[in-house]
Symmetry: C2
Subunit: 550 residues, 2 copies
């Protein structure tokens, strides 16, 4: 049997485009004599459709797509992800299904059993779970068709905090029925540790069931969520036979009889390339945000610092430097060096730049506020006014010329609230919002590894917002090496203050950092979506009460 | 048996404060010879704790609170809501439980069966569900202890779109065991239709099980969620015996033998007082936002229009006019009337006000941008610059003096994106963000019903942002009567474009409005939490993809 895996990049709700991609791949699979072609989870509507699933017309459109696609299924079987109606009189109205399409008809519907409802996932919000297990007959082959999380029963989730998150293992149920192989259709988002974890869990399923697994993931980004793709074929011994492309569409055909226990293993997945993966993921995130919204042009504030420099390079690689424009907005406290570093980078990248000093506008605000502020001392207020002037100027260009503003804040700043709400925290998309400052430096190093692009001075000088004379980040924040370590243990690993202090960090410093995180929740509530590259990003996957004591 | 119902206002994560409230009510119940005292759902930690439940130390603190409270339970039984560990080796690590505390010990733990995971609820994200049903023996009385949603099996949710959302009815299971009565501990948020719906569903449970129901809800607001309280006692015939206070703490004791089928029914719940309920709910929302964050002072921009006028009145009633401060920021396009209306209102309410014209600052932006904008025509860009200048000035005062900025946008504007991101869409809390413009007028009428407070001119003049000469809302938007009708059917009722047009509204207008809603999703993503008074508010309860075609 020849199985084609179609790893495609879907846009949420773009039914016509998605259907066209799917029928195009079916045509190709037919031409290349495949017996079966497999698409990823919820492929007709894209993943995650979120509350669009609550609209009946949206479910109707999904069903129409399935019927349209079925018509192309003559001489081939297609497995396509889509919501399906739950015809039981009780339970939620839809399930998350794999449709088996053959001879122009719907020949079978398999619903998902394990509904991830943690971190960025909300599947139990929408879907009823499967309770009946049977194999699909695909031209005489008995196949266990599963959907994404169905393979993850054995994953010891840091969310569950214990052995198992679920009370049933669908793979156990299906393997009792002796399948010839497992097919899994997924929408499994990227994080820089997830590729390895995913391979391991799929291999474990292949090994315990002692059958090959054909695994199809979606690729491309939908807002903050980046899907790497990286679809897999794994043999009955749990060895990786093939890995499909990362961060792009791919299409490959496999002969099932060739996927034997003796098939040569691929080399283990490389885990040392974390920064390269993050680099590629962020470019995918930027590119798809713009492409799927039918946008082309971006703008950002270039300060001479490392965050905006890295953001600009990534944006140029995603969108082309001809679509970028930057604004340099020196304050009276900006160093000449900063302006020069910013100009150097813009010129190196061939990016249009303008310089608008903010001193005059700032003076006008000070004048207007003088009767109210009287002779009160300058404080963070004046820094924020300047930051918000920059925000206003950037948005003015955005509004006038249609450039989308890219936010350049990093995860360390976002964590501790070191930024100005409605000032430097604004934008349509936060490119580095899930990247700790120490990793921003590594990204800069990676970018410069094949020749200097980012001015060395930008990388080596001490970080500063340059909003008061001689200001440095280290005046207000601990060294980033320590800060990032505490943040990682608190946010990603959800350790307590005591547990983090036990790593050898001063307890009062840990307390201070955690307090900064919790007291800036209100700021993060109003910031743009941040491209997710870790297991615990701000936004969709981390939901904290705004009014709380903790 | 004497049952005390303690309807209290908890702060999320404020373990010491919450425990003190609970033990205080236990002491009072003992003094007043109650046999049992009942507290609401997750009372030790407050509801909803959201992802704090993922932190082990948070669950530990809940257990400590339970042990502390148990020590006070001598000569009385307390039923207290708290997360409990799930000791099964499989399933999520905690359940949402009612602890039965007696003789200084934990005598029983009942876990919640139905875990709401729709709209603002995310319970399956955290909790494992109960699968075993038994009654609690409270001094010889057999009691069905249930938790909130457990009574809602028969609710035909607009979310499920069909008969039943769940596959098991815990009340059926428990009533088979012949309880003497039902206790339900809840955290059921307010919406202006929910009080009636809630009474009906509880009455239906009493009637089908043929036993009285004692229902305890929490009161007070936690960020956008407002809990009315309104705890209930309903007899075996489904008649309401008593309703506890709305929007404040309350404590009452009932003799179970007095709750007979012959007990006199209360009059039906009044549904004509919707606007009064919304008024009280919003004041509760403002008050608790400030009180629970240890804040006292608020600021807002007073334009002379109806939205900021109503917001100011509500804020004064919540916080006291001595804690309010307003800024009038006329543009070159503001009418004298607007400034006068704003001044009149501030003086009437005894609120400190200052006037800062924005014309000079605006001119300075125009000058700075001139080399970039060249001779391009003025457009929405210039309106947005002015709106963001106002935002900057308000935030400057907020930063300098510690006033929290209240956002004054209404739900109609938020729906269609008629507002400036980082301009008039900013603030710590959106007071009217879930109130359609037509209801803002009704609130103004209600406020003025016992004497003019809001200047009549503010109510009668055509709405305008006054950001260009002669501008009116109706230049860009349909009449609010029609707009709000379309929005209500699209957002609250999730109707399709065709279904809304079938109400007799021009189809192209419906299409235009829906397009405005969908294309402004990115703006709402970055706006402050809005006090929730409807069944479908923006924010927590409505989760739409940002990058999508629909």
């Amino acid at each position: 049997m020849r199985i084609a895996l179609a790893q495609l990049n879907y846009t949420i709700g773009a039914f016509d485009d998605n259907t066209k991609k799917i029928t195009g791949a079916i045509a190709r699979a037919k031409r290349e004599n495949a017996d079966v072609v497999v698409f990823s989870e919820l492929s007709v509507c894209g993943y995650p459709p979120m509350d669009l699933l609550d609209y009946d017309y949206f479910i109707d459109r999904c069903q129409q797509s399935i019927r349209t696609i079925a018509k192309e299924c003559e001489g081939i079987i297609a497995i396509v992800g889509s919501p399906a109606h739950n015809h039981d009189p009780i339970g939620k109205k839809i399930c998350n299904a794999a449709f088996i399409l053959q001879d122009k008809e719907i020949r079978g519907i398999v619903c998902k059993t394990l509904l991830p409802t943690y971190d960025i996932f909300d599947e139990y919000r929408y879907f009823e779970r499967n309770r009946h297990f049977s194999l699909c007959d695909l031209n005489g082959q008995k196949v266990a068709v599963t959907i994404c999380e169905d393979l993850w029963y054995h994953h010891t989730s840091d969310v569950s905090g214990k052995g198992k998150l679920y009370t049933v293992n669908p793979v156990d149920e299906l393997c009792r029925l002796k399948p010839d192989f497992i097919i899994n259709i997924s929408a499994s988002p990227f994080s820089y540790t997830h590729i390895k974890v995913r391979e391991d869990i799929i291999a474990m399923n292949a090994l315990t069931c002692h059958v090959p697994v054909f695994y199809v993931n979606q690729t491309g980004a939908n807002a903050e969520l980046i899907f790497d793709g990286g679809s897999l074929v794994i043999n009955a011994k749990g060895a990786v036979i093939d890995r499909m492309a990362l961060f792009k569409e791919d299409f490959r055909i496999y002969e099932t009889q060739n996927i034997t226990e003796n098939t040569a293993d691929q080399s283990p997945v490389k885990t040392e390339d974390t920064i390269a993966l993050i680099h590629d993921a962020l470019i995918t995130g930027i590119r798809d945000y713009f492409r799927k919204m039918h946008l082309t042009k971006a703008i950002l504030g270039l300060s001479g610092g490392i965050d905006s420099a890295v953001t600009l390079v990534l944006a140029c690689r995603a969108l082309g430097s001809e679509n970028l424009r930057v604004l340099l907005m020196p304050s009276q406290y900006s160093s000449d060096h900063s302006v020069q570093d910013a100009v150097d980078l813009a010129e190196k990248l061939n990016v249009q730049y303008d310089i608008i000093p903010i001193q005059d506008i700032f003076a006008r605000y000070q004048h207007a506020l003088k009767p109210l502020f009287m002779n009160l001392q300058e404080d963070v207020t004046e820094e924020n006014i300047q930051s918000r002037i920059r925000g206003n100027l950037l948005m003015a260009l955005s509004n006038k010329f249609g450039h989308i503003l890219l936010n350049t804040s990093n995860k360390s700043e976002a964590s501790v609230g070191y930024g100005t709400l409605y000032g430097d925290m604004i934008g349509g998309l936060a490119v580095l919002g899930d990247v700790y400052k120490t990793d921003v430096y590594k990204l800069a190093g990676y970018i410069n590894s094949e020749g200097i692009i980012i001015p060395p001075n930008t990388i080596t000088k001490p970080p500063s917002a340059e909003l008061r004379p001689g200001q440095k980040d280290s005046d207000s924040l601990p060294e980033y090496e320590i800060l990032d370590k505490v943040l990682f243990h608190y946010i990603e690993l959800r350790r307590s203050q005591e547990e983090i202090a036990a790593l050898g960090i001063d307890k009062s410093l840990v307390q201070k950092i955690i307090n900064m995180v919790t007291s800036s929740e209100y700021k993060r509530y109003q910031t743009p979506p941040a491209l997710r590259i870790s297991n615990k990003a701000f936004g969709l996957g981390r939901r904290m009460p705004l009014v709380a004591k903790y």
